[in-house]
C-alpha cells in the first residue's frame, strides 16, 4: 500500500517537477541562511560563517540527485530526454525519416486494412452480451459439416437438451415485400423468421416496445407481429417512436409492429442486417419451399440453430448430448435422418465454416505481413547505415560513461518514434483500404453490407504491429552500433576493413527483401493469371443483351395457381413484344448463387449401402431458357410447352451429371426418383452442356433442370434477350407487367451483363488489385533497399575507389567491384524467393483455386523482370562510383 501511494505521489510530483526543483532550492537556501546566522552568532566572520554552513550541509548536487531520485519517476524523465534527443536527430535527416515512416506506414496500413477483413469474417464477437456463450448447433452429413435443422428437429433440440440456457432458431434472411400503407406497391426488405426466445436468449433488449412472447410463436399463422431492425426503423419510420403499435403489410399480410431492436444489434450475420424479425409461427407468409410443409416435414431444413451454453457446462458435454439426440433421430426417423449427425461449434468454428471468404482474407494478411517484413528489413538496413555514420558520436558517448543499456534504449526510442509515426500513417492507410473495400456493392435488394471496419481490435493490432516492428528493425542496429570498437571509431576516419563481419546482417536483409518481394510478385501474378485464365475459359452461357427482372407474386398473396398463371401470361406477352429476341423464366440466374439442392435416386442404380439418396444442385426453368442463355443441348431434346403440369415428369441434366451416373451409356431416356427410392419417377430427356453455375473459379458440378410447369416456383427471374441495349426493354416489360397487375413490383431490374461482371469479376478483381498492390509495394521497397545498400557501399569505399582509379583501374573494374556483391545477393534472394513462391503456389492452389500444377508463365515473367529492376537499383549508384574523380575522392574527409 505504502509503495503504491508513493508511486502516485511520485506521479503527481512528476507533473510539477519544475515547481518541486524550485521548492528544494528555496529550502536549501533557507537552511544555509539559518546555519550561517547561527555561525555568525557563534562569532565567525561572515565569509567563514557561510563557508562552514555550506560544508555542514554537504554536497548540494549529490543531494539534489538523491532528492530527484526519491522524488519522481527517474526512468520516465530519462526517457523523455531520449525522446527529445531522438526527435532532434530525426529532424536532422528529414529525407531518411520520411522514407522510413512512409515505408512502415505502407506495411502497417496494408496489414491492418487486410486484417480488418479477417477480423470481421472470423474474430469479431457477436453483438450481444457475453458473446462467447453463444454456440451454433449444426446438422452434419457426410458432405457437409454445417447443415441446417428442420422446424421439428429444432423443437426436439429445444425440448430435450439440458446444456443450454436457451435454444434459438432463425431462418435465412429472405426478401419480404413490405408496404406501410394498404394501397402502396410493396418494396423488398430483408426479413428473418426467428423463434420467440431469440432476443431474450441472446440478451438483446428491444430499444422500443417489446420482444416476442412465447405464446406468439406457438400457433401457426395466428400472431402476426414483427420487430423492426434499427436501420429499417430509422429509414422507414424516421426513428419515430409511434411506429410501435402500427400495422404494416408484409407479403400482403397485416403485421403489428411490437418493438424495435437496438442499434447495438445489427443482427447475428456477418453481411446481412435484417430489416424485420417475424416469429417462426408465421412461416406460411414467408414460405420458401412450397413443396414442403415447414411445420411438419422433418427434412425441410431451413433453420440455423444457436444456443446459449449454461455457465460452467463444458462444450464437450453439450456435444455428447446433441450427438445422442442425433443418434435417436436416426433411429426414429431413418427416412430423413440416416447418416445424419450433429455438432456444436463455438463462434470461431462457426465462422470458419459458414463463409469461406476468410481464406482470401488470411491470404491477404499473410502477403501484407510479408510487405511489412520487407519494410522492416529496409528500415533496419537504413538505420544500420545511419548507426555507422554515428559510430563516432556513440563512441564519444561511451567514453564519457554512457552505459550500453542506456544507449540501446536511446536507439530503440528512435525506432519506437519512427514506428509510431509509421503506425499512425498505417492507420490512415488502413482506413483507406477499408474505404476501398466498401466500394464493393452487393447486387441485391436485401440489406447486405461490407462488414469490414477499423474497430478497436484492428487498431490495437496496428499498434502492436508498430511496436513489434520497432523492435524488429531497431534492435539489430542498436546492438551492433553499441558494440563498436571504441579506438577505431574515435579515430574519426570512416575506414572500413574489407570483409568485416557486421556486413553479414545487411546482406541478409537484402536477400530477405529480394526473396520476399519475389514471392509477393509471384503470388499476385499467379492470382491475376489464374483468374484471367478462368475468365477466358468459357462460362458456357450468354451474358450480353440480356435484361433480368425478378418477380415474387407471393408479395401480393397470389396462390400457386395464380402465380403460375401470371408467369404464363408474362412469358407469352413478353415473347411477342417488339425488340425481344427471346425470353426465359428461371428460378435463379447463373452466378446468382442461390440454387436449390434436390435429393434423388437414379433408377436402376446400385446405391451405396449407407446412402439413402444423392444430392444435386438444380434450377427450375421454362422452355425458353436454353435458347435465351445459349446453353447447348448436347443430346436429347429441349423442354417443350407440352411438358405441362399434368404431362409425364421430365428433366434435363448436365453432361457431368450424365457421365457421373451413367458413365457407360446415354443418360437420355434414363430415370431418376425424386427424394428417395419410392419417389416420383422423372425421365431424363436431354443432356445440356456443363456451364459455370456459381462462380468463375469452380469445379464442374452436377446440375439438374426441371420444367417450371412441373416444378412451380413462386419467385422467378425473367430473362429477356434484346437485339440492342437490354435496358431499352425495361419500359416495355414494365408496361406488360402493369397490364397484368399494377401492384406487382419488379425486383432486381438490371442488365444481366452488369450483374455478371459484378458477381464474377469485381470481387476477385479487388482481391487481385490488392495483391498486386502488395507485390508492387514490396518490389519498390526491395529496390529502395538494394539501392541504399549499394549507395552506402560506394560512399564508404569512396577513398578506396579513388585510389584504384588513380592507380589506373578502368570504370568497368570499378563497376564490377561495386555491383558484384549486389548481384550476388539478388541471385541468392531470387533462388530463395522462387522456393517460397512455389510453396505459396501449392498453398493457393489447394486453398483457393482447387487446381494443381505450376504456372510456368508466371515465373517466366516475374523472375527476369524482378532481376532487371533490382540490377538497375544496384547499377545506378555503382555508375556514380565510376565517375569519381580521384583528386576529389582522396580529399574526402
Amino acid at each position: 500500500m505504502k509503495s503504491l501511494r508513493r508511486f502516485f505521489a511520485r506521479l503527481s510530483t512528476f507533473a510539477t517537477r519544475r515547481a518541486q526543483d524550485e521548492r528544494l532550492r528555496e529550502e536549501i537556501g533557507e537552511h544555509i541562511a539559518l546555519q550561517t546566522a547561527e555561525n555568525l552568532r557563534a562569532g565567525m566572520s561572515p565569509v567563514e560563517a557561510r563557508r562552514q554552513a555550506m560544508l555542514k550541509f554537504g554536497g548540494v548536487e549529490a543531494m539534489k540527485e538523491d532528492y530527484r531520485t526519491a522524488r519522481g519517476l527517474l526512468f520516465v524523465e530519462n526517457w523523455l530526454q531520449d525522446v527529445r534527443f531522438a526527435l532532434r536527430s530525426l529532424r536532422r535527416t528529414p529525407g531518411l525519416t520520411a522514407f522510413v515512416v512512409i515505408t512502415l506506414a505502407l506495411g502497417i496500413g496494408m496489414t491492418s486494412g487486410t486484417f480488418s477483413m479477417v477480423d470481421a469474417l472470423i474474430f469479431r464477437p457477436y453483438p450481444v452480451p457475453h458473446p462467447s456463450g453463444v454456440i451454433t448447433l449444426a446438422s452434419t452429413t457426410r458432405e457437409s459439416s454445417f447443415d441446417e435443422f428442420s422446424y421439428r428437429e429444432y423443437l426436439d433440440i429445444h425440448d430435450k437438451t439440458k446444456s443450454y440456457d436457451g435454444v434459438i432458431a432463425n431462418g435465412d434472411m429472405e426478401a419480404v415485400g413490405f408496404s406501410a400503407e394498404p394501397g402502396a406497391t410493396p418494396r423488398i426488405k430483408g426479413g428473418m423468421m426467428v423463434s420467440a426466445n431469440y432476443f431474450q436468449v441472446l440478451g438483446v433488449a428491444p430499444r422500443l416496445g417489446r420482444g416476442f412472447r412465447e405464446d406468439e410463436d406457438q400457433v401457426p399463422g395466428r400472431d402476426a407481429v414483427v420487430v423492426l431492425g434499427p436501420d429499417f426503423w430509422k429509414q422507414e419510420f424516421a426513428s419515430d417512436p409511434s411506429a410501435v403499435g402500427r400495422i404494416i403489410r408484409l407479403n400482403g399480410t397485416q403485421f403489428t409492429v411490437i418493438g424495435v431492436a437496438p442499434e447495438t444489434f445489427p443482427g447475428m450475420e456477418i453481411f446481412g442486417h435484417p430489416d424485420l424479425y417475424m416469429p417462426l409461427a408465421m412461416a406460411r407468409a414467408f414460405s420458401t419451399n412450397p413443396q414442403k410443409n415447414f411445420f411438419e416435414d422433418r427434412d425441410d431444413r431451413e433453420l440455423n440453430v444457436r444456443a446459449r451454453l449454461k455457465r460452467g457446462t463444458p462444450l464437450q458435454q453439450a456435444q455428447n448430448e446433441l450427438s445422442t439426440l442425433a443418434t435417436n433421430f436416426q433411429g426414429e426417423y431413418p427416412k430423413f435422418n440416416r447418416g445424419r449427425g450433429a455438432a456444436v461449434y463455438t463462434q470461431f468454428e462457426t465462422r470458419i465454416r459458414e463463409d469461406e471468404s476468410w481464406k482470401f482474407g488470411v491470404t491477404f494478411v499473410v502477403l501484407a505481413l510479408a510487405v511489412l517484413l520487407v519494410a522492416c528489413t529496409n528500415v533496419a538496413g537504413l538505420l544500420l547505415s545511419r548507426a555507422r555514420a554515428r559510430s563516432h558520436e556513440i563512441a564519444v558517448r561511451v567514453t564519457l560513461g554512457a552505459g550500453r543499456v542506456r544507449l540501446i534504449r536511446l536507439l530503440l526510442t528512435e525506432s519506437l518514434i519512427l514506428a509510431s509515426m509509421g503506425g499512425l500513417g498505417g492507420i490512415v492507410i488502413g482506413y483507406g483500404v477499408v474505404e476501398w473495400f466498401h466500394t464493393f456493392q452487393f447486387m441485391t435488394d436485401l440489406p447486405w453490407a461490407v462488414p469490414f471496419r477499423m474497430d478497436t481490435r484492428v487498431l490495437l493490432a496496428s499498434v502492436a504491429l508498430s511496436v513489434f516492428s520497432a523492435l524488429l528493425f531497431g534492435l539489430a542496429p542498436a546492438l551492433q552500433s553499441t558494440r563498436a570498437d571504441l579506438v577505431n571509431a574515435l579515430k574519426a576516419a570512416d575506414v572500413d576493413v574489407p570483409g568485416r563481419k557486421h556486413l553479414w546482417g545487411r546482406n541478409m536483409l537484402v536477400v530477405a527483401q529480394v526473396s520476399m518481394s519475389l514471392m509477393l510478385l509471384t503470388a499476385s501474378f499467379l492470382m491475376a493469371h489464374s483468374f484471367q485464365r478462368s475468365l477466358l475459359e468459357r462460362t458456357g452461357f450468354a451474358k450480353d443483351h440480356l435484361l433480368m427482372v425478378s418477380f415474387d407474386p407471393r408479395l401480393l398473396q397470389y396462390n400457386p395457381a395464380q402465380t403460375q398463371q401470371f408467369y404464363k401470361l408474362l412469358a407469352e406477352r413478353v415473347r411477342v413484344a417488339p425488340g425481344v429476341q427471346s425470353e426465359a423464366l428461371t428460378q435463379n440466374v447463373p452466378f446468382g448463387g442461390d440454387f436449390d439442392d434436390m435429393a434423388f435416386v437414379p433408377d436402376e442404380f446400385q446405391m451405396p449401402r449407407d446412402r439413402e439418396n444423392f444430392n444435386s444442385t438444380m434450377d427450375s426453368v421454362d422452355e425458353g431458357y436454353f435458347k435465351t442463355m445459349r446453353i447447348p443441348i448436347l443430346r436429347g431434346r429441349d423442354f417443350l410447352a407440352s411438358d405441362a403440369a399434368e404431362a409425364p415428369r421430365v428433366a434435363i441434366v448436365n453432361e457431368r451429371f450424365a457421365k457421373h451416373y451413367w458413365p457407360a451409356g446415354d443418360a437420355v431416356g434414363k430415370h431418376i426418383h425424386l427424394d428417395n427410392r419410392a419417389g416420383t419417377l422423372v425421365e431424363i430427356v436431354g443432356v445440356a452442356q456443363t456451364i459455370k453455375y456459381e462462380g468463375t473459379i469452380e469445379k464442374p458440378m452436377d446440375f439438374v433442370y426441371m420444367p417450371l410447369a412441373q416444378h412451380p416456383i413462386a419467385r422467378m427471374v425473367l430473362m429477356v434477350q434484346s437485339s440492342g441495349d437490354p435496358l431499352q426493354l425495361v419500359q416495355p416489360v414494365k408496361d406488360i407487367v402493369r397490364s397484368l397487375d399494377p401492384n406487382l413490383p419488379m425486383l432486381q431490374t438490371r442488365s444481366y451483363g452488369d450483374f455478371y461482371v459484378n458477381q464474377a469479376v469485381k470481387g476477385p478483381r479487388m482481391g487481385i488489385n490488392l495483391v498486386a498492390t502488395l507485390g508492387a509495394v514490396g518490389l519498390l521497397l526491395a529496390v529502395a533497399g538494394l539501392y541504399g545498400l549499394v549507395a552506402f557501399n560506394v560512399s564508404r569505399r569512396i577513398r578506396e575507389i579513388g585510389i584504384r582509379i588513380a592507380l589506373g583501374a578502368q570504370s568497368s573494374d570499378v563497376l564490377r567491384l561495386v555491383i558484384g556483391r549486389g548481384l550476388l545477393l539478388v541471385g541468392i534472394g531470387t533462388v530463395i524467393g522462387l522456393a517460397m513462391g512455389f510453396t505459396l503456389e501449392q498453398l493457393m492452389n489447394s486453398v483457393l483455386f482447387n487446381s494443381g500444377g505450376v504456372d510456368i508463365v508466371a515465373y517466366i515473367i516475374v523472375v527476369p523482370s524482378m532481376f532487371l529492376v533490382t540490377t538497375l537499383a544496384a547499377y545506378v549508384p555503382a555508375r556514380r562510383a565510376c565517375r569519381i574523380a580521384p583528386t576529389q575522392a582522396l580529399r574526402y574527409e
Binding site: R5, E30, A33, L34, Q35, G58, G59, R71
Partner: protein, 117 residues
C-alpha cells in the same frame, strides 16, 4: 553493496529520528529538524545535513508528514513540516520495532560463548 546497506540503515534511522523529532517538537522547518537531530545524535548529521531533505520528501510522499510554507525566525519563507496522524501511528509501530530489534541485538552482544553452549 556494503555502503548501500549502510545508507539504507542510516536513511531508515534518520526517518525515525525525523518522526520522533516532529512528535516531540511539533511543527518544524528542515533546519530545525537538522539541529535537533544533531544535538541529540552528535555527529550523524554533522557533515551531511543535506541528506535530510530526500528523507523528508520520502516521508511526505508516504503520508507520514505534511508540509506547508511559513515564516522562519528571521522572517523568511521556509517549509514547515509536521507529523500527520498516519505518521504518528507509523512512529509508534517503528519505535516498537526498533526497541525490539535493539533489545535482541543487545542480547546478542551481551551473550558470551559460555551462555550459548
Amino acid at each position: 553493496m556494503a555502503s548501500k546497506q549502510k545508507t539504507d540503515v542510516l536513511q531508515g534511522t534518520l526517518a525515525l529520528m525525523v518522526l520522533k523529532t516532529l512528535d516531540v517538537l511539533g511543527t518544524l522547518h528542515g533546519y530545525g529538524i537538522a539541529r535537533r537531530i544533531e544535538q541529540i545524535s552528535g555527529d550523524i548529521l554533522s557533515v551531511n545535513q543535506g541528506t535530510l531533505y530526500p528523507v523528508l520528501l520520502k516521508l511526505e510522499q508516504e503520508g507520514a508528514i505534511a508540509s506547508e510554507w511559513g515564516a522562519s525566525e528571521n522572517n523568511r519563507r521556509a517549509r514547515f513540516y509536521k507529523l500527520t496522524r498516519q505518521g504518528r501511528k507509523q512512529l509508534q509501530v517503528e519505535t516498537q520495532d526498533w526497541q525490539q530489534t535493539a533489545a535482541i541485538i543487545g542480547r546478542f552482544f551481551e551473550a558470551n560463548a559460555e551462555d550459548l553452549s
